[in-house]
Amino acid sequence: MIFIIFIAHILIDFLFGYGLLLLLNRKTINLSFVAESIGIGMFFDTLILAILNYIGISLNVGFLIFSLLSLGLMGYTWFRIERPTWQGELFKKRLSILEWFFTILIGEKLVWNILNLINIPTYFDDALNHWSGKARALAFNINWSWDPSSVYFLGKPFGHVEYPLFLNVWRATNFNLGDPMSHTDRWDGLIIWLIISIILFTWITQLTQKRVLGFVGVFILSALPIQSWHISAGYAEIMIQCFFLLSLWSIYNQRMVVAGIFTAAMIWSKNEGLIIFMPLVTSMLFLVLIQQETKLKQKAITFFKYQITWLLCMAPWLVFKLVHGVGLTIPGERGIYYRERGLFQMAKALFDTPSSSIFWIVMLLVLIIGTIKIKRSSFLRTIVPICWISLAMMTFVFTCTNAHIFLSNQMTIHRSLLQIAPIFVIAFCYVIKNFDNKKAQV
């Protein structure tokens, strides 16, 4: 039963995203469009339901309202907007033996995670506390309150109040619609991984004009030792990974409003979305804009369109935090200064632990090659700096802020690095494909 509810929930979210993307002038649909639609739908679903719940409407009624909104939006676009055409050229050619081989390797992770989700209970700490624990508190409406003076404010006994509510609301809706005591609360991770895989595959294939490299890229990311665990563990890291990738993908495709929505979804997923990843996406946008031969006014409009979109989407949550004195990050030792041996520990985390194995050694090597050849294409001039900035930002956060503790004890460093891994995979595939090209294609 819970599985049917889960599928129906995804479908409603897809319809909302589908309608909204068509309203935003999409003329063609393809696999990445489907992935984007689900991502957008999940974001607005949880944001709208959280707002409705705050003003006293139950999650079930809220979901009914959202479902009607989705169907209405879908109906409007169906009758009022020109029907989009399906573009499926990525799979027009039959899969080669090599592509089948990588599909099997990727499929192994899919099968393992599905079996894991069906059979193994929620086990890991943060899922039990911050994500599914708070979701249950919200669903049962017993240990939850929107009143800041209550000890149950935002499910405080279960996890940090500073964390945003994307996963809590999405899972609480599933609990409320289905069996609240079932442990099938982590299925969102699987959907999110499929979205990541589709976007990664499409982007790499488009950039390199080699479909097999798209499969290789998805395999490289999926085979990161802790990536497989994160697909079904119920954590929010994979959400950040997904919406960061979607934000950059949308900027690459010059869709600033959609990029703004995905950045908002990233902020709504976990605190790093605002503190680390929003500046990264802004940097990417800046790098794209300075290379365009458009007028300054046009560049400014594009820049602000993105900024205003994410700010407007996130305004309810940010205002709520401001009004109720909820911090942007979890409390800890304050102060920005270099922590002793921080860089050494960071280097060890990158290059000498089984958690990433040899991934970062190879990625950094290829990134250096990309840096040497940076003048060859505008895409290199965008992706190479963004990789360096993201790595520098991670290094700064883990060596100069209170997050250093999580580098020392290895609690979150590897899963934080996981969040920026997809852009390194894209850079890797692009640099390798255009290694000898005097002028790369993009």
């Binding site: 039990l128 290789v216 040899i358």
Partner: protein, 286 residues
């Protein structure tokens, strides 16, 4: 003298070490006055014990310094590479673990041990989400073997086809597949192990049994918890989220909580207990 050291080992290690909310005592001292050697392994056979139960292995070196590592029981013989452990050098005064009914053997690692320790399952732990296990082969990390294979393939392709780009790509992908195969084997081993245990995670089993009965006992009354730690602490709040919970941060919790769930009942009257967990009805709250 030995009994003093023994007592010291128990006292100090049990005071600092806690697994799943329980104090753990190293009560089984199985070796005294041995010499640490290179390539030395400790083979532990747990006989009929359930796999996945955390335990402590501790030792005292010649300078009276104490060391301990947390490990988990396994179905197969567990091989612990002692010369890789911090503080395993010189004379070792004593070695002990927190489990009974375990047979042990110190020996030099042979080829069969190398293969066994490489292919043995590395269990799922609360930390699996944060970091991966190391797979060692002949005392070296398996990832360096993979890297070496990748570099070799790269050079072969560079020499034969003068194509560095293809060399890096194919070299890395082959190395990555090799590492992934080992990782995948472990994931499937974990899954198979759990399926044999009817998907019950060993450290949660007592908690699951306890929670099932506790819900009936508590009815609509409020509860709080104490002396639980780690993943068990989180597991209780997660599973009992449908019952009104009074956190200890609530200043008036004493007046509100009808029940306490604890691992340390002390002298209080226990309403119900299952394994390590106890439900206590608080008389002051009606």
């Amino acid at each position: 003298m030995n009994s003093i050291r023994f007592g010291l080992l128990i006292l100090l290690l049990s005071s600092v070490c806690s697994i799943s909310g329980q104090s753990v005592q190293i009560s089984n001292i199985f070796a005294r006055d041995i010499v640490a050697e290179d390539n030395q392994v400790l083979a532990l056979n747990f006989k009929d014990q359930i796999a996945g139960i955390p335990f402590l292995l501790g030792w005292i070196d010649g300078d009276n310094k104490q060391y301990a590592v947390t490990l988990e029981t396994s179905k197969e013989v567990l091989l612990i590479q002692m010369d890789h452990q911090t503080g395993w050098k010189g004379n070792i005064q004593m070695v002990g673990i927190s489990l009974q009914n375990v047979s042990f053997e110190f020996r030099k690692k042979n080829l069969s041990d190398h293969i066994t320790s490489f292919s043995n399952m590395k269990p799922m732990t609360p930390g699996s989400i944060n970091f991966s296990h190391e797979y060692s082969l002949a005392g070296h990390s398996f990832r360096w073997f993979c890297l070496a294979i990748g570099v070799l393939v790269m050079f072969v392709l560079l020499i034969t086809s003068k194509n560095l780009e293809k060399g890096i790509l194919i070299g890395f992908v082959i190395a990555w597949i090799a590492y992934d195969l080992r990782e995948s084997k472990n994931r499937w081993d974990i899954f198979s192990d759990l399926s044999k245990a009817n998907y019950e995670i060993a450290i949660l089993k007592d908690a699951d049994d306890f929670i099932g009965s506790t819900k009936e006992q508590m009815g609509d009354m409020k509860w709080t918890k104490e002396d639980l730690s780690g993943v068990i602490n989180s597991y209780f709040t997660y599973q009992l989220a449908d019952h009104a919970y009074v956190p200890k941060t609530d200043k008036s919790w004493q007046e509100k909580a009808h029940y306490v769930i604890t691992a340390q009942p002390k002298k209080r009257k226990v309403t119900f207990n299952q394994g390590r967990y106890h439900l206590i009805r608080r008389a002051r709250v009606k």
